[in-house]
């Protein structure tokens, strides 16, 4: 599984990254967590509001700092 955090690196993006890392750790799964900070690349995903979260290339949330539990639910879908 590949999880990407889309955002230029502001505190909200960092918090979402931390929450995603915590979610992966608690679920005890193998997942690569990457960051997409380039605005052009973020726009290619169609994201207009950051931070955003993509799982395996599909944006599942934008404009929100999802909690660890929210992310766990999305990963488990």
């Amino acid at each position: 599984m590949k999880i990407e955090i889309l955002g230029v690196g502001c505190p909200k993006c960092k918090q979402l990254t931390a929450n995603a890392e915590a979610a992966v750790k608690e679920l005890n799964i193998q997942a690569e967590i990457g960051k997409v900070t380039d605005i052009d690349k973020i726009t290619e995903y169609g994201v207009m509001m950051t931070p955003a979260l993509a799982i395996d290339g599909t944006v599942v949330s934008a404009g929100k700092v999802l909690s660890k539990d929210d992310i766990k639910k999305l990963i488990s879908k």
């Binding site: 955002g7 993006c13 169609g46 404009g63 929100k64």
Partner: protein, 136 residues
Amino acid sequence: MAENNCMCQEAGVLIFPCSGGSDVGELSDSVARKMAKCGQAKMFCLAGIGAHIPGMIESAKAAKKLIAIDGCQVLCSKKILEHAGFTPISFNLKDLGFEKGRTKVDDETIEKAATKISGGKGEETANRNSGGCCGN
């Protein structure tokens, strides 16, 4: 990091004109751009919603309110948004007195339409209390 380019600001109110091929379609687009320029709402891509681009859909979900501006009674913008699961505040320019095929799209008409939209449901379209626009 480039926080100046941050896209983390509050989504607020997003505006979706139908941008159709007719005079009133053009007016919907122009009035939306004017309202966006004035800070009353943020212009958004209706085509991206129609194409079900996940990033666009999720970005729209982050908004406080969505406004659909349609040029005529076909209500394409409203219907596209509803089809994607949203419930927009809907404006039909025909109901505001702009007739398809008989509307000249100029600064005066754009201003008039913007005033009617932001004044008609002003509390829903913007944070500001004024029914008009910035005059730019």
